[in-house]
């Protein structure tokens, strides 16, 4: 756990350095596209209060944005390092060119790698009567960490709730009187190899990693409005290769998971069903796709085209109903998987059960109607928050996680490694080592 603490601390220091430089890049490594935003921090944290309460999106400005087709990424995990590295390079270079400035620090997110959530509980007696920062540190390290396996890495570890004696629901217990302090921590782990691959790719592009986030978390932060985050809501980030879901309550993420199905599977279904290449299938999906068939759709014929040279083959056409008939079962399957994950997480016990669909695949017409049949009544389509300087082309739901990352870049939520280590866990050897070093060298 200590190495994790150190490495995450190092990333935090990177982020701070980037803030000092004033420029940081946001990299959303998805299965179908790689988006890169370049942010400039201008220190205008107290932006004009007249417009509206700036929900954390003040203090920075997007000065460069670029997307490129993703290569070598499947199910939100990097599969071909060289290809992905080239794709990242393309996106970063285009965004740099638009921003006309060089960026050295990058905050990245990815959606796959089998995220798993753990709820941790820690309890400790106070040293004095008043809760100090050291007490908070001690209770955080008192959490009993489950055995999540050697090949897993902690992506997020956030104290969600503090309880002092029998008073629960404290956001900041410091300075309060009590006997025992307890905390609930949310721990999110992913496959270590995915994180290593990503950081390796980023390093190959001469960039420094200033943070890694789960894209479900970032998308939820950007797409959920403030009261949804407060009262409890689930955000379903429907990407190309995987569908992430994150549950928020009291402004904290308490659960995150991912389904290894996404828009690319719908496309490949169309490709197989209509016997067309993937590119054509993608085009048909985006232009004519849908999930609810009506009588009108029987008459709407779609030219499929082709360039085999066979006249009959090249002039096929299908009705839109057929297309919907191909797409709908796959979308239903995605939602059923999501439903299963939500049920496993105990989403139906939350006071509010708002579900927000975001991500590029949530743009299928009629999706919210289908989702409300499977997931529950309170479903809406979410778009990310508007941030300063974001180009119009990058304001769609597909950029929710990129926007969420920008918000985190400006105002990160407290993680376990943002707190000080408790004094007694400092390795006692270090002082001895210092003494020995002096003796050896002087």
């Amino acid at each position: 756990m200590l190495e994790l603490y150190e490495s995450q601390r190092a990333m935090r220091a990177m982020r701070k350095a980037a803030m000092q430089r004033g420029v940081v890049a946001i990299l959303d490594v998805g299965s179908s596209k790689i988006a890169c935003l370049v942010l400039r921090f201008d220190g205008s944290d107290l932006a004009d209060e007249t417009a509206m309460p700036m929900a954390g999106q003040a203090g920075f400005r997007v000065i460069g944005a670029a997307t490129t087709r993703s290569r070598g990424v499947r199910f939100g995990e990097i599969e071909m390092m060289a290809e992905t590295e080239r794709a990242i390079r393309t996106a970063v270079q285009a965004a740099q060119k638009m921003a006309n400035i060089r960026v050295d620090h990058v905050i990245a997110c990815f959606s796959g790698a089998d995220p798993r959530s753990y709820g941790l509980v820690g309890e400790t007696g106070l040293e004095g009567h008043v809760v100090t920062e050291q007490d908070v540190s001690r209770v955080l390290s008192a959490c009993d960490v489950p055995d999540f396996g050697q090949d897993r890495e902690v992506l997020h570890a956030q104290p969600v709730n503090f309880a002092l004696d029998h008073r629960s629901g404290l956001a900041d217990p410091r300075g309060q009187m009590g006997q025992t302090l307890a905390t609930d921590m949310h721990l999110l782990t992913v496959d270590a190899s995915a994180v290593q691959n990503l950081s390796h790719c980023v390093r190959r592009c001469d960039l420094e990693l200033a943070g890694i986030y789960s894209s479900a978390y970032a998308a939820g932060y950007a797409a959920l409005v403030e009261d949804e985050q407060e009262l409890g809501a689930a955000c379903i980030d429907m990407g190309g290769g995987s569908t992430g879901l994150s549950i928020f309550i009291k402004k904290h993420m308490i659960y995150a998971d991912a389904v290894r199905l996404g828009g690319d599977h719908v496309t490949s279904d169309i490709s197989m069903g209509l016997q067309v290449p993937m590119g054509v299938a993608e085009r048909i999906k985006t232009f004519y796709g849908g999930v609810v068939a009506t009588g009108m759709d029987d008459r709407e014929m779609i030219d499929i085209g082709g360039d085999t040279g066979d006249w009959e083959h090249d002039r096929r056409s299908v009705s839109r109903t057929e297309l919907i008939g191909i797409m709908r079962p796959r979308v239903e399957e995605i939602f059923e998987e999501v439903r299963a994950k939500l049920d496993a997480a105990g989403f139906d016990h939350l006071p509010s059960q708002q579900i927000v669909l975001t991500g590029a695949a949530s743009q299928i017409p009629g999706l919210d109607g289908l989702a409300s049949r499977i997931l529950g009544q309170q479903v809406r389509l979410g778009r990310p928050l508007r941030v300063q300087g974001l180009p119009q082309a990058a304001t769609g739901p597909g950029f929710a996680s990129a926007v969420g990352l920008s918000l985190f870049a400006a105002h990160p939520q407290d993680e376990w490694w943002d707190f000080e280590l408790p004094v007694d866990t400092y390795p006692a050897r270090s002082l001895k080592r210092v003494v020995r070093w002096f003796r050896d060298n002087w």
């Binding site: 490129t68 080239r86 794709a87 390079r89 393309t90 970063v92 270079q93 740099q96 060119k97 006309n100 400035i101 060089r102 592009c205 001469d206 360039d307």
Partner: protein, 299 residues
């Protein structure tokens, strides 16, 4: 009837090149986006290259020499253009003698370029001449060095132990005279510091207009007061303060009693309350005689 040779198929897709930049292209682009590097390329590099070339060129003595020569040639060519040449000097407002003096003071070999003339220096030289009150020097169109001179106008003659000089209204003695008779039209003043109080002297002379025929001049006595010297050795001794009023009193006395036509040696006005008259020796004897007869008659 179709040609059997292979037709270029238009349907054939042009293979799109990889949009990803190569590793080195990416690094180069990033380097070019670095502000310091970009500034160095835009300003530092041209500057240092030109500096280096310049230094290399001028490292050779002969080149440096020739460069300087070329610079001087260009400058001389420019200065010696006909529109900048000055061909003659004109002196206006001075009498012939003073003009001669000015030409002696400003020795110039015409034609000259106007860049070589220091007009301020010339003006100072001319203005240093005693007979010149004011001088303006300028270069007129047509290449003429124009010197406009205002001469000093003499208003009096000042006699000192050294000789006789002309004095202008500022009290500056500017020219020696061979004799008093060469300028009989000007009044004469004499004595130490007389020229410093010239305005007062001139006022006195104006007041004494009726006596002009008889007046020999004004003498400054002890550097504090004036005496008017008339012919026959007569003197009007004026006080330090208000000499003009005192003189007016004398003039009034003269016009009423013909005072100065009598055998009076001096009219002493130094005590304002009492006019004192000194008679000549003969007149005194005459007076005594007259008094004696008057006494006899009364007895």
């Amino acid at each position: 009837m179709q040609p059997l040779s292979k037709q270029p198929t238009t349907a054939k897709r042009i293979q799109k090149s990889d949009p990803a930049p190569s590793r080195w292209a990416y690094r180069f682009e990033r380097l070019m986006l670095t502000p310091v590097f970009r500034k160095a390329m835009r300003i530092g590099l041209p500057f240092s290259v030109s500096l280096l070339l310049g230094l290399a060129y001028f490292a050779d003595e002969a080149r440096r020499e020739s460069f300087n020569m070329a610079l001087i040639d260009v400058r001389d060519d420019f200065q010696n253009r006909p529109e900048f040449m000055v061909n003659l000097m004109a002196v206006d407002g001075a009498s012939t003698a003073i003009a001669e003096e000015i030409r002696a003071v400003v020795p110039l070999d015409f034609p000259l370029s106007s860049f070589e003339l220091d007009l301020e220096d010339i003006r100072n030289n001319v203005a240093e001449l005693a007979a010149v009150k004011k001088a303006t020097v300028r270069i007129r169109t047509g290449g003429v060095l124009q010197i406009d001179v205002t001469e000093r106008q003499p208003i009096a003659i000042w006699r000192t132990y050294e000789g006789i000089e002309l004095v202008d209204n500022a009290g500056v003695a500017f020219r020696a005279l061979p004799s008093r008779m060469s300028r009989p039209d000007l009044p004469l003043i004499a004595g130490e510091g007389a020229a410093k109080h010239l305005p007062e002297a001139m006022q006195l002379i104006r007041t004494a207009t009726p006596l002009h025929k008889r007046m020999r001049g004004l003498a400054r006595m002890g550097e504090r007061r004036w005496d008017i010297v008339l012919d026959r050795g007569q003197r009007i001794m004026l006080p330090e303060k208000n000499p003009v009023q005192a003189l007016q009193r004398v003039m009034a006395l003269n016009s009423a009693r013909d005072l100065l036509k009598r055998d009076v040696a001096a009219v002493d006005m130094r005590l304002a309350k009492r006019v004192t008259i000194r008679l000549n020796e003969d007149a005194v004897k005459q007076r005594w005689k007259a008094r004696a007869t008057e006494a006899e008659i009364q007895e």
